[in-house]
């Protein structure tokens, strides 16, 4: 699909953002030709960023204070339900890690299927993501923990690229403001017996995204937060 083709209807892109600056503008320029509606949730950015020009297709919601990616995601979901009639919602990172092709493959997988949610995975066949060995080991540990905790046989426990339908969006109410929201989403799948699937996606680790990414120690915080849901 290219920008000459009709934009994807019925799907809203939700992009939480915090101090992403020019990187966010670049991400938006890559996606706005493909999706009819994009919701950007500015999570209380403190840096003076280049002015994001909100228009009819890019809805900009601003948190008055920084709350965390999970909180920004839930605000984006609430806004999408309230201000659009879309039936599908994609969560998409602002830092350029996610590709438009991967997002489109999620759309292709869920539309017309019985799936309520399709989660991106870096570790399925056909994914070309190059993950460093230490990070891969940590992510595999996270998968093991997630499988034990949720009972779901996921291959990638913490991937920010996912698509879900309106029924799923109306059911969940994320309370984990930080990065534990990814595990919280899986617990909703288990609790409400949603029909789910995974789809290979490609993640591009740039110098910028690596610098801004989570440290391995943050895994301790995620596990702790899960015990206090």
């Amino acid at each position: 699909m290219n920008s000459q083709d009709k934009k994807i209807q019925d799907v809203v892109l939700i992009i939480p953002s915090y101090n992403e600056g020019p990187v966010l503008l670049e991400t938006l320029s890559n996606v706005e030709n493909f999706f009819e509606k994009i919701i950007v949730v500015d999570d209380g950015s403190t840096k003076k960023d280049p002015e994001l020009i909100a228009n009819n297709r890019i809805l900009l919601i601003k948190h008055p204070v920084n709350l965390g990616q999970g909180a920004a995601l839930q605000t984006g979901i609430s806004a999408a339900l309230k201000f659009t009639n879309a039936n599908y919602f994609i969560t998409f990172d602002a830092d350029g890690q996610h590709s438009i092709e991967s997002a489109l493959s999620l759309v292709h997988k869920i539309k017309g299927s019985s799936f309520d949610i399709v989660i991106g995975s870096r570790f399925l066949q056909n994914s070309t993501t190059n993950v460093s060995l230490p990070r891969k080991l940590l992510l595999k540990l996270a998968v093991l923990f997630t499988r034990m905790e949720s009972g779901l046989k996921v291959t990638d426990a913490h991937n920010g690229l996912r698509i879900f339908n309106r029924k799923f969006a109306e059911t969940i109410k994320l309370k984990q403001n930080g990065m534990a929201h990814a595990s919280e989403i899986l617990s909703y799948i288990k609790e409400f017996q949603f029909n789910w699937a995974e789809c290979p996606v490609d993640i591009t680790y740039t110098e910028y995204s690596r610098r801004k990414g989570q440290s391995a120690l943050n895994a301790v915080n995620i596990v702790t937060e899960l015990f206090h849901r």
Binding site: V41, I61, K62, P64, V65, A71, Q74, T75, S78, T84
Partner: protein
């Protein structure tokens, strides 16, 4: 020795009961527990032998040792209840901030949104 384990068991059980609850009754009991703990500490300063006799009957070596156990339980309990209070406050702030963000957005678009 057995009495020591019974003491620890009872303290743990009572401690968990105090920490687990959020009702005004639990809060009142925690406050009473704090007053009891402070009183015990003061009594131990002036009447060490008296506390010592109570401690021995509970299987604990000395009054000071008993206070160390109680202090440890109290500290752990404080950490847990503080974390829980912080989470409640965080949830409230999040709900409020979200409400403000969505209201601001809707107001700025005069309700002309759904498509």
């Amino acid at each position: 020795m057995i009495i020591k384990w019974i003491t620890i068991f009872l303290l743990l059980g009572f401690g968990i009961y105090l920490i687990a609850g959020q009702s005004s009754r639990h809060i009142a009991l925690r406050r009473l527990g704090f007053v009891f703990f402070v009183s015990l500490s003061l009594i131990n300063v002036f009447f060490e032998s008296f506390i010592g006799r109570i401690s021995s009957s509970l299987g604990v070596g000395s009054g000071t040792e008993l206070l160390v156990y109680l202090t440890s339980f109290a500290f752990i309990g404080y950490v847990v209840t503080s974390y829980r209070s912080r989470r409640v406050l965080e949830n409230r702030v999040t709900e409020l901030a979200r409400h403000i963000a969505l209201e601001d957005f809707e107001r700025s678009h005069n309700g002309n949104l759904k498509s």
